[in-house]
């Protein structure tokens, strides 16, 4: 956030602004890594499913694989905490955290902040509807004697332990980043 925290006379970034700049680039790097891991997992799952008629594991899938479950859970918890920390340390441009007032002169159709909020809320709604869909699929498959989603997660762990562990860590990083709420004084931290 160098441009928001430079000292007024010299334009030199302060240690605090450098730290926030690093936090922002760490966020960008880890978000990109999580996205790439998810793309890799999706391509692997789709290509295997298209090319083969049976799952790549036993029926039912084995519960032990490499890495062991304790390592998977530990990595997942670390990714969850890391996701929260990157969101907490990330600074934003103060002009994007202005509170709307009743006397705001910006018409709603031109208010960029309001448009951002609508887009994000629509995406979150889609995400929550998807969770509902997954829950319904889990119930229907179990009631009809078909593998539920849980079995496919276990199968992926059985057949490709490290790749599945990385994918689980990527998902948990995102969950920690989006859904672990910061304390009030940290919320919407600005570079000012």
């Amino acid at each position: 956030m160098a441009e928001f925290e430079s000292s007024a006379d010299s334009g030199t970034p302060t240690p605090s602004s450098r730290r926030e700049g690093v936090a922002r680039w760490v966020s960008i790097g880890l978000l990109s890594a999580a996205g790439l891991i998810l793309v890799w997992a999706m391509i692997s799952a789709v290509s295997y499913t298209v090319a083969h008629t049976s799952p790549p594991c036993s029926n039912p899938p084995r519960l032990d694989s490499d890495p062991p479950q304790l390592a998977v859970v530990s990595l997942g918890l670390m990714a969850f905490a890391l996701g929260h920390l990157t969101a907490r340390w990330q600074a934003v441009d103060p002009k994007h955290v202005r509170r709307r007032t009743r006397a705001s002169s910006i018409p709603p159709e031109n208010d960029r902040r309001r448009r951002d909020a609508l887009v994000i809320q629509a995406l979150l709604l889609a995400f929550l509807l998807e969770m509902l869909g997954l829950l319904i699929i889990e119930i229907v498959t179990l009631s009809r004697g078909v593998w539920p989603i849980t079995f496919y997660v276990r199968c992926a762990y059985d057949a490709a332990g490290w790749q599945s562990t990385l994918a689980a860590a990527a998902v948990l990083f995102l969950v920690g980043r989006w859904f672990w709420l910061p304390r009030r004084r940290w919320h919407a931290r600005t570079g000012s």
Partner: protein
């Protein structure tokens, strides 16, 4: 013993499930690059405004994650 699901159903769930996540990742990346409020801040604002809904959703989502990921004998 349970049987594997039809291939089309597996493909549908894998593609739809991961694509939504990827769309959110892309949004978060763009917001972060532009120094705007990231996705987590919007979630926080919503959760502070509707704490009961947020609690209910947290319980459902947490239950689902535990169910999918935590394999016990």
């Amino acid at each position: 013993m349970l049987e594997p699901a039809p291939r089309d159903a597996v493909l549908f769930v894998a593609v739809v499930g991961l694509s939504t996540l990827l769309l959110l990742v892309a949004s978060d990346l763009v917001l972060t690059l532009q120094r705007r409020l990231p996705v987590g801040s919007w979630v926080t604002q919503w959760a502070r405004r509707y704490p009961a809904f947020a609690l209910a959703l947290t319980l459902v989502a947490g239950g689902l994650f535990g169910h999918f990921y935590f394999a016990t004998p």
